[in-house]
């Protein structure tokens, strides 16, 4: 296996980490030095040729090769066996439907939210439970980080240059979760709603803002829980832009849905009907321009275009009544979530 990347020689491993800082190759945290043996192991684990082009980013005219992906995956701290997940995520963000350039560059400042589904999530120990968006799991932390380092180092998505986020958010370090696919979940795994079989492995990428937490410990019905969620979502980042939204339900809310027999579609339909504002409210809040007409008072607009634009996921700690909604970046014309199969060699 021939690796073609330019080589840099330093005195020791500490010097290698310093060089990565000096050359602007990190996200601010230390990286694992990408030595040839580590990079080769990463490529071997996916059985992929180093010069194979995994993606071509049209707006940047940049070819993303497996070798550069593997180098950045090593730097992020990935185990070699994570490489197929990283590969699938890179392919997904290059899908025209995802529309890389807009969400990566925009002042709106999205991160790549990643959802891993299928048996591989358990095999590689991706977290789908406690402290869902927080630290503590190597697979979640490093696979998400690998994608951000690839965006930075290979595609040139550098803060202040071709990443013009005004605010950014913590998910831009890493934003990767798995789903509860056990019997306690009220729903079949998310990827089956995208046409995949339960035993297939997939990663879903979604250009997303930070998770917004809601709390409802009073309700024992789906309507009760979702009333709180919709009240929070009505005026949120996607109001009148209508991107997709991810809705993340933790253990206790999963139990409420399961007991009531509510399907994923029931949740989508309920939220579509109840996360609405009138155009008059939207204009009064300075989210849309123009004078308020009589029709604006009765024209109701949901935060998404269709019920299916809610990405409904069962994930989070068993205890607790805190769910999350995650607004997507921009609108659907600019970016949509993409689900890609993870191919294990």
């Amino acid at each position: 296996m021939e690796l073609k990347a330019r080589r840099h020689t330093v005195q020791d491993l500490g010097g290698a980490m310093d060089l990565c800082y000096t050359n602007g190759w990190t996200d601010g945290l230390p990286v694992v030095p990408p030595t040839a043996d580590r990079v080769t192991a990463m490529l071997d684990a996916a059985k992929i040729d180093p010069q194979h082009q995994l993606a071509f980013i049209e707006n940047r005219q940049i070819s993303v090769t497996a070798e550069k992906v593997a180098i950045n995956a090593v730097m992020a701290g990935c185990k070699a066996e994570y490489m197929p997940v990283v590969v699938a995520a890179v392919e997904a963000i290059a899908d025209p439907k995802y529309g890389y350039h807009g969400p990566a560059t925009s002042t709106g400042g999205s991160a790549v939210f990643m959802l891993v589904n299928g048996p591989i999530a358990k095999e590689l120990d991706f977290n789908s439970g406690d402290n869902l968006f927080g630290p503590g799991w190597r697979a979640n932390a490093t696979v998400g980080r690998a994608i951000r380092l690839i965006m930075r180092n290979v595609i040139g998505t550098l803060p202040g240059e071709l990443d013009r986020s005004s605010m950014g958010h913590g998910g831009k370090y890493s934003f990767c979760i798995a789903e509860n696919e056990t019997d306690t979940s009220p729903w079949p795994p998310f990827h089956t709603s995208r046409g995949f079989r339960r035993d297939q492995n997939t990663v879903t990428v979604f250009a997303a803002f930070a998770p917004h937490q809601i709390s409802n410990g009073l309700s024992s019905t789906p309507e009760g829980v979702l009333t709180t969620l919709c009240a929070n979502m009505r005026f949120s980042a996607g109001t009148n832009r209508r991107p997709q939204y991810a809705l993340i339900f933790p253990g206790e809310h999963q139990l409420v849905m399961k007991k009531a027999g509510w399907s994923r579609e029931d949740v989508q339909n309920y939220c579509f009907e109840n996360a609405k504002c009138s155009m008059a409210e939207i204009k009064r809040a300075n989210i849309a321009p123009g004078p308020i007409t009589p029709e604006d008072e009765t024209t109701k607009i949901s935060v998404v275009e269709t019920p299916q634009d809610f990405i409904v996921v069962a994930a989070g700690g068993i205890a607790g009544v805190q769910a999350s909604y995650i607004p997507g970046w921009g609108g659907k014309a600019g970016s949509q979530s993409v689900t890609r199969e993870i191919r294990k060699p």
Partner: protein, 94 residues
Amino acid sequence: MTVQILDPTTEVSGRRIAYARRPKSMEGLRVGLIDNTKHNSDQLLLRIADILEKEHGSKTHIIRKKKSSGAAPHAEIIEEYKANCDVIVAGVGD
């Protein structure tokens, strides 16, 4: 003992990008304006077209709207520009 690490960045491939030819004069040319969907971008572009016509002699203009500021113009409006325009004014106003 020294350590050798691999460069994680894209290395220059030396590929050339062909730019459209620039006109020497705007006299008599038809202008295409690409509205990038941002508020007031149409007003800014129409003002530019006005200046091009009054001060630089361009003949006409058309304005069409992209579907998203982050995406390239869609095929239908590209065809319209190709059929009806000699120069294009594009850019992201925010």
